[in-house]
C-alpha cells in the first residue's frame, strides 16, 4: 500500500520515546507561482526573502495579541509534549506542540527579544535561514490546527495559531502549499473547493432529487438560488457527491422537507469550507467568506444554516460575525445591512445539528430508530467543533447536541473512552489543510490515537459505524480506516443516520 509502516495499535495508548528526524522528510507539494498570485502572494522565493519573512513575523505579532503572548509565555513545562496525535503517531520530537512552536519562537526571539538578540545561545534563538524555512515547511504542515495542545497548556498556548502564522509568513515569501492555495483559488474562480460549476451543481442536485424519489417515493427538493427562501444552507461542497458525505446532504433535505422549511442552496456560495483559515490569512479568509454575505443579501434569506463541516463551523460560528457580519449584535452599518434581514429568533449562523435537534425537541420529526438497527454507532467529536466553537446555548452543547440527534435516530450508541472524546478528542489526522495524497504518511500516522480509541469500542461493543460531522474527517477516515483494517464505509454522516430513520410521509 505504501512505503511506510502503519503504527501498531496496542492495549493502551502509549507515549513513545522521541525519534529525532522521524518525519523530517514529510513535505507537501508547493503551490505553483501562477496560483500564488491569485491569493496575493509572491510566486516563489526571491533574494532577500529572509528580511521579508522576519518583517512579516513582526507585523503578525503586532496584529495578533495571541501570537505575541503565546511566543513570550511558554515556560517549557512539557505538559503539551504528549498531547499531539502527530507526536503520538510518529515519535518525531518536532511534532510535540512546544517543539513545533519553538521552530517559530526561536526566530522570533532572535529578532524581536532582548535575550535572543544578545544571548542567542542562551535561549535557543535562531536566524531565519533556508534550513529553518525547510523545517517550517515540513513541520507546520504536520499540524492539523486541532487545538488539542491548547486545552492542556497552563496558559492556553494554541499551536494552531502559531502554525497559521508560520504558514502566513511562508506565503509572504512565496512558499505556499499547493493543496490549500489552489483550492482557495478555485473558490475565487468558481465558488467552491471542488471547482464544481453552477451547471454541474444544478444537475447533481436534480439527480439527487430523483434518487431520493426512487428510494422513498417522496418529492424531496434540493433547491438552488431560490430568492426569498427562509433558510440558506451553506455546506461543504463534498456533500454534493463524495461518499459518505452525500447521505448527510440527503438527510438535511429530508429534515427540511418534513419540517416544512423553505430552504435553498446558493450557486454563488456553494462552499462552507474556508481554507483561508488554514493558511492563517485574515484577508483570504474574509474574501472566501464574503461570497456567503453576498448570497444571503441577494437571496434575502432570514436564516443561515451550516452543514456538517468542522473547520467551516469554526469559521462560521466564531468568525463570520467578525468577518462578514453574519450574526447578531452588530451596531455598525456594515453589520446592520445584513443583520436586520436575519430572523432574531434563530442563532446566526445555525448548525444543521442545532436545527435538527430543535425540531426533534419540538416533535416535528418522525424518527424510527429501528431503521438503523444494523448500525452500532460511535461518534467522533471533530476537533474544530469541539474546541473552537459551540452548539446550543450552554458551554459544551457541541458535545451534547450531536449525540442527542444520533440517539434519537439509532438504538445502539457507544462512546469512545472519555480521554479521547469531547474537549479531549483526537483529530482524525487530516485536518488543517493536510487532506492531500502527498501527506498520506502523516495522515495515517496521525490517525493512530483515534484508531486506538475506535478499536477499543469495536472490540468491546462491535461498533460498525463511526459518525462524524466534518467533511474533512469523513474523507480522511475513508482513506485511513483500511490502513487499520476497518472497512472504509464504516465512516458516515450524522445526518446519514437521520436520513435512514426519518419517516417521510407521516407528517407534512
Amino acid at each position: 500500500m505504501a512505503d511506510f509502516e502503519t503504527p501498531a495499535l496496542t492495549e493502551f495508548q502509549l507515549v513513545p520515546h522521541i525519534k529525532k528526524g522521524a518525519m523530517a522528510h514529510s513535505q507537501p507539494y508547493m503551490a505553483k507561482p501562477e496560483f500564488q498570485g491569485d491569493l496575493g502572494f509572491p510566486g516563489e522565493l526571491e533574494d532577500g526573502w529572509e528580511d521579508v519573512a522576519v518583517k512579516k513575523l513582526g507585523e503578525l505579532t503586532s496584529k495578533y495579541r495571541g501570537l505575541k503572548v503565546f511566543l513570550d509565555c511558554c515556560v517549557k513545562c512539557g505538559a503539551c509534549t504528549d498531547k499531539c496525535h502527530y507526536y503520538l503517531g510518529t515519535a518525531d520530537p518536532l511534532n510535540m506542540p512546544v517543539a513545533r512552536q519553538d521552530l517559530l519562537r526561536s526566530v522570533y526571539r532572535r529578532y524581536y527579544t532582548f535575550a535572543g538578540k544578545y544571548f542567542p545561545w542562551l535561549v535557543g534563538a535562531k536566524k531565519m535561514t533556508k534550513d529553518m524555512l525547510d523545517k517550517w515547511y515540513s513541520y507546520f504542515h504536520q499540524c492539523s490546527q486541532c487545538r488539542r495542545c491548547s486545552v492542556f497548556c497552563p496558559y492556553g498556548i494554541d499551536t494552531a495559531e502559531i502554525s497559521m502564522a508560520a504558514r502566513e509568513v511562508m506565503d509572504a515569501v512565496g512558499v505556499g502549499q499547493k493543496y490549500c492555495n489552489e483550492i482557495i483559488g478555485k473558490v475565487y474562480k468558481i465558488g467552491n473547493n471542488l471547482g464544481l460549476p453552477e451547471k454541474a451543481l444544478v444537475n447533481t442536485l436534480e439527480g439527487l432529487e430523483e434518487d431520493v424519489k426512487d428510494d422513498t417515493g417522496i418529492d424531496v427538493k434540493f433547491p438552488v438560488d431560490q430568492e426569498g427562501a427562509e433558510v440558506l444552507l451553506i455546506t461543504p461542497s463534498a456533500d454534493f457527491f463524495a461518499e459518505p458525505h452525500i447521505d448527510g446532504l440527503i438527510g438535511y433535505g429530508k429534515v427540511f422537507h418534513q419540517a416544512g422549511i423553505n430552504w435553498t442552496l446558493s450557486s454563488h456560495a456553494s462552499e462552507a469550507g474556508n481554507f483561508g483559515m488554514f493558511i492563517g490569512s485574515y484577508e483570504n479568509m474574509r474574501r472566501v467568506a464574503l461570497r456567503i454575505r453576498e448570497a444571503a443579501l441577494d437571496l434575502k434569506v432570514k436564516r443561515i444554516v451550516v452543514g456538517e463541516c468542522g473547520h467551516a463551523w469554526r469559521v462560521a460560528y466564531s468568525f463570520w460575525n467578525t468577518l462578514i457580519g453574519v450574526g447578531h449584535g452588530g451596531d455598525d452599518p456594515y453589520a446592520k445591512a445584513l443583520q436586520q434581514q436575519l430572523d432574531p429568533n434563530y442563532p446566526a449562523p445555525q448548525h444543521i445539528i442545532e436545527l435538527t435537534y430543535d425540531l426533534i425537541q419540538k416533535g416535528a420529526l418522525t424518527l424510527d430508530k429501528s431503521a438503523n438497527d444494523d448500525q452500532r454507532v460511535t461518534f467522533h467529536d471533530s476537533c474544530n467543533v469541539a474546541r473552537a466553537s459551540r452548539m446550543g446555548n450552554m458551554p459544551g452543547g457541541q458535545f451534547v447536541l450531536p449525540r442527542e440527534v444520533i440517539k434519537s435516530s439509532v438504538n445502539h450508541f457507544f462512546d469512545m473512552a472519555p480521554e479521547t472524546i469531547h474537549e479531549n478528542t483526537f483529530c482524525c489526522g487530516g485536518g488543517g489543510g493536510l487532506l492531500t495524497d502527498d501527506l498520506m504518511e502523516i495522515r495515517v500516522k496521525g490517525a493512530q490515537p483515534r484508531m486506538q480509541a475506535l478499536m477499543d469500542v469495536v472490540q468491546e461493543h462491535d461498533v460498525n459505524y463511526l459518525a462524524a460531522i466534518c467533511a474533512i474527517c469523513k474523507s480522511q477516515f475513508s482513506k485511513v480506516l483500511p490502513y487499520y483494517n476497518h472497512p472504509m464505509n464504516m465512516i458516515g454522516s450524522v445526518h446519514g443516520l437521520v436520513s435512514n430513520a426519518i419517516q417521510l410521509g407521516t407528517k407534512q
Partner: protein, 245 residues
C-alpha cells in the same frame, strides 16, 4: 564603595527594570489587537464565567491538572510555596509587621521547603523525561538553578545557626531603602549571595519566560467570552478592510 551602597544601587536598578519592564510589556499586550474570537471551548459565555475560569487557572492550575499530574503537583508546590515565602518576607519591609503576615509566619517556613522540593522535582524532569529534555534550553536550566539557589540560600540562613544573619540590621537596611535613608547591610556571604540572586531574578523577569505571570491574563484562548454569534467582535485594523470596499 561599601557593600551596602552597591546593594542599594542594585536594588533600585532591579526594581526599576522590573517595574518599568512589566509596565512596558503589559501595555504592549493590552494594545495589541485581538482580531478574532479564539477561546478554547467549551468556554464561559459570560464575563463572570471568564473571571472564574481565570481564577481557577491561576489558583489551582486547572489546565495543567487535566494535563499532567506530576507537573501539576510540582508546579503547584513551587508556586504556592513561593507565594507564602514572599508574603512572609513582607515582615522585612513593614514596621510594625502586619498582623496577617505574623499569622502566616509558621507556614512560611514549610513553604520554603515546599518551594525547593517543587523546583528540584521540576528540574529532575528536565533530565529524566526525554521529551522534556529535548525542549529544554540552557536558559530553562539556568532559570531553575537561579530559583533553587535563592530558595537554598534562604533556607540555609534560617536553619544553619552559623549562617544566621542579623535580621534586625537587615530589616533596617530594607526599610532604609524604602525611605531613602541608607542603613548598613550585614555582610554575611550567604545573605549577599541570596540578595544578589534575587536582584538577578528581578532583572531578568521582564525579558524572560517569567512573563507567563502577566501573560496568562492576556491569553485570548482563556480570557475571551464565548459569545461570537451574539456580539460582533471587530478590531480596528480589520474594520479598515470593510470601509475600504
Amino acid at each position: 564603595m561599601s557593600i551596602s551602597v552597591i546593594f542599594a544601587v542594585l536594588f533600585y536598578t532591579a526594581t526599576f527594570i522590573l517595574v518599568a519592564g512589566l509596565i512596558y510589556r503589559i501595555r504592549d499586550y493590552a494594545r495589541t489587537p485581538v482580531p478574532l474570537k479564539i477561546p478554547t471551548t467549551p468556554a464561559p459565555i459570560t464575563r463572570t464565567g471568564v473571571a472564574f475560569r481565570m481564577l481557577r487557572e491561576i489558583t489551582v492550575f486547572e489546565s495543567l491538572f487535566k494535563s499532567n499530574k506530576w507537573i501539576w503537583i510540582l508546579g503547584w508546590l513551587f508556586h504556592f510555596g513561593m507565594v507564602l515565602v514572599l508574603l512572609r518576607h513582607l515582615r522585612y519591609f513593614t514596621q510594625p509587621v502586619w498582623a496577617w503576615v505574623d499569622l502566616i509566619q509558621p507556614f512560611g517556613i514549610y513553604a520554603g521547603f515546599a518551594m525547593a522540593a517543587g523546583l528540584l522535582g521540576l528540574w529532575a524532569r528536565r533530565f529524566l523525561v526525554d521529551r522534556v529534555r529535548y525542549i529544554s534550553s540552557l536558559s530553562d536550566h539556568l532559570m531553575l538553578l537561579l530559583l533553587i539557589s535563592i530558595a537554598t540560600t534562604g533556607l540555609l540562613m534560617s536553619y544553619i545557626p552559623e549562617w544566621h544573619t542579623d535580621i534586625v540590621a537587615l530589616k533596617a537596611f530594607m526599610l532604609g531603602l524604602l525611605y531613602f535613608d541608607l542603613q548598613p547591610l550585614p555582610e554575611e556571604p550567604m545573605l549577599l549571595i541570596h540578595l544578589g540572586l534575587v536582584v538577578t531574578l528581578m532583572m531578568v523577569f521582564p525579558i524572560s519566560k517569567l512573563l507567563h505571570a502577566p501573560g496568562v491574563f492576556f491569553s485570548p484562548t482563556r480570557n475571551q467570552v464565548d459569545n461570537a454569534r451574539e456580539k460582533r467582535h471587530l478590531s480596528a485594523w480589520a474594520a479598515k478592510l470593510e470601509s475600504s470596499e
